[in-house]
C-alpha cells in the first residue's frame, strides 16, 4: 500500500549547518501525501530543524547553510527563486506553543485569507466557520468569535492555530510538538483531530512523545545527532526496528 502512495516531499542528501555545527547530515527520505509522518528523537537531534526546512522557516535564522535538495510537488523548496509566500501558503505550520495573534478569534482565522487577498465578507465568514468546524472548535466558541483569542484555554488556542492554518487551504500541515504545552484532554482532542485531517492533508509532526507517535502516525522517522537513523512504517519501526540505536531509543535506554 505504502509504496503506491503519492509522495509529497522528496528529500535527497540534505545537509544543514548553523554556523559551524552541522544540524542535519545527509538526510534522504520520501514523505507520503495524505498521511501522518512522525519525526522522533532526543532533543537537539535535528527533527525540528528538518521540519522547518520544509517550509523554509529556517530562513529566519542567521548563519544557516543548506545543501542537498527538497522537492515538494515538483517545486524546488530550497531554491532562492522559489516563491516562499506561495510555498508557505501550501505548507502550513503549527507551533509548539500556541501563538494566537492578540486579536479576535474571527480576525485570527481571517488573517491568512486576508493577507492572500480575500476581502469579501461573506466568503471570510464561510472560511472562518468551516475552518473552526474542521479544527473541532466551532461548537465551543461560536458565540464568542469576536472576543479576544487570548481568552481561550491553551488547548483551544492550539486548535484555533490549527484552524488558522486550515483557513489558507494548505496541502501540508507541519506540526512542531503541537501538544507538548497541553494537558492530556486537549492532547487527546488534537490527536483525534489529526486522524480526521490526514484524509485531506499531508501531516508531518515532530513529537517528543513516543506513545503519541505510535498513536497518530503512519510512518515514523527517527533522528539522532542530525542523522536520519531509521525511517519506516510506524508499527515496523516500533516493534521491529532495524537499527540498534532505534531500539535503544524506543526502549528508553537514552534520550
Amino acid at each position: 500500500m505504502m509504496s503506491e502512495a503519492e509522495t509529497a516531499f522528496s528529500i535527497r542528501g540534505l545537509d544543514l549547518w548553523y554556523g559551524k555545527s552541522q544540524a542535519l547530515k545527509s538526510v534522504t527520505a520520501d514523505l507520503p501525501a495524505r498521511s501522518v509522518t512522525a519525526l522522533i528523537g532526543p532533543s537537539g537531534c535535528g527533527k525540528s530543524t528538518f521540519l522547518r526546512t520544509l517550509n523554509r522557516m529556517n530562513d529566519l535564522v542567521g548563519g544557516v547553510r543548506i545543501e542537498g535538495s527538497v522537492l515538494y510537488d515538483g517545486v524546488d523548496v530550497l531554491s532562492p527563486s522559489t516563491d516562499v509566500i506561495d510555498l508557505r501558503k501550501r505548507v502550513g505550520m503549527v507551533f509548539q506553543k500556541p501563538n494566537p495573534f492578540p486579536m479576535s478569534l474571527y480576525d485570527n482565522i481571517a488573517y491568512g485569507p486576508r493577507v492572500h487577498g480575500v476581502k469579501d465578507k461573506a466568503r471570510l465568514d464561510d472560511v472562518v466557520e468551516s475552518s473552526l468546524v474542521r479544527a473541532a472548535l466551532f461548537d465551543e466558541v461560536k458565540d464568542r468569535l469576536h472576543e479576544s483569542a487570548l481568552g481561550l484555554s491553551g488547548g483551544q488556542q492550539q486548535r484555533l492555530c490549527i484552524a488558522r492554518v486550515l483557513a489558507v487551504e494548505p496541502e501540508v500541515v507541519l506540526m512542531d510538538e503541537p501538544t507538548s504545552a497541553l494537558d492530556p484532554i486537549s492532547t487527546a482532542k488534537i490527536e483525534a483531530l489529526l486522524d480526521e485531517l490526514k484524509r485531506d492533508y499531508t501531516i508531518v509532526i515532530v513529537t517528543h512523545n513516543m506513545q503519541q507517535a505510535g498513536r497518530v502516525s503512519d510512518r515514523t522517522a527517527f533522528f539522532l545527532l542530525g542523522e536520519l537513523v531509521e525511517y519506516a512504517a510506524t508499527k515496523e519501526l516500533f516493534f521491529n526496528p532495524a537499527d540498534e540505536r532505534t531500539e535503544n531509543y524506543i526502549s528508553g535506554r537514552f534520550g
Binding site: 492578540p102 493577507v115 488556542q157
Partner: protein
Amino acid sequence: MFGSASLSVLAVLLITVFMFRSGLPLFKVVSVADFLFTTRWEPTAADPGYGILSFIVGSFLVTGLALAIAVPTGMAVGVFLAELSDDRSSRTIRSAVELLAGIPSVVYGLFGIAVITPASRALFGGSGYGALSAAAILAIMTLPTIITVTDSSLRALPRELKEGSLALGATHWQTIYKVLVPAARSGIIAGVILGMGRAIGETLAVLMVGGNAPIMPKGLNGMVRTLTMNIITDMSYATGDHLTSLFATGMVLFAFILGLNLIARLALKKSMTGVGGGAGA
C-alpha cells in the same frame, strides 16, 4: 533603598504642596475660569489681566505639531531598528539615538536658531520664530523616546507571533503592520505619551525659537508662548499677584503632566496584562 524611595515620594509630595500653596492664592484675585479660559495677559497693567488660555493653546499647538512629526518618524525608525536593519547597524543607530537623548536642551535651542529658524523663514516666510520652529525642535527632542519605546516593545514580542504570521504566507511587511505593531500598540502609546510629557514640559529650546509673543498664536507659523515660556519669561521680575500667577501657571502644567503620566501608566498596565505585550501565552 527604602530610604531613597521614601525620599523621592516625599519630594513629589513636597513639590505638589509647595506649588499649590504658592499658586492657589491667585484665585482670590481672579476666578479659575478667567485664568484658564481668557486670553488677556497683562499682569503689570493698572487693571491686571491673568488669562493664560493663549499659553495653554500654545503648549498644545506646539506639542501636537511636534508629535505629528515625531510619532510617524519615530515609529518608522523603531520598526526599522527592530525588524529591518541588521544587528550591527541597529547597534550603531541605537547608540546615536541615545546620544540624541542626552544633548542639553540649550544646544537644541542653538541648533534651532542656527538652522531651523532660517529654514522656516525660507520655506514659510515670516520671522522664522514661531510654533512651527518650536515644534520642529521638540520633534527632534521627542524622537529618542518614541524610537526607543517602539524598538523595545517590538523586540519584547514573543518570536512565535512573527513566525506564526510568516508561516501563514504573510510577507514580512504584512507581519509588521498587521500583527507586530498592533501587538506592541500599548507600549508604543505609552512611549508617545511620555514623549508628549517631555514636549509639554520643555522650556529653554522652545523659548529660543518660539517667538514668545503673549498672544493667541496666529496660525501654525505664528509666534507662540507656551506655559513653560510664560513662567520663565516673567519670573525674573514678577512680584505679588503676578508672581503668584506664575506659580498657578506651573500648577496647570503640573496637572497636565500628571494626567499624561496616569494615561501612560494605564496603557503600560494594559500592555503587561495582554499577551501581545510580551508576557507570552
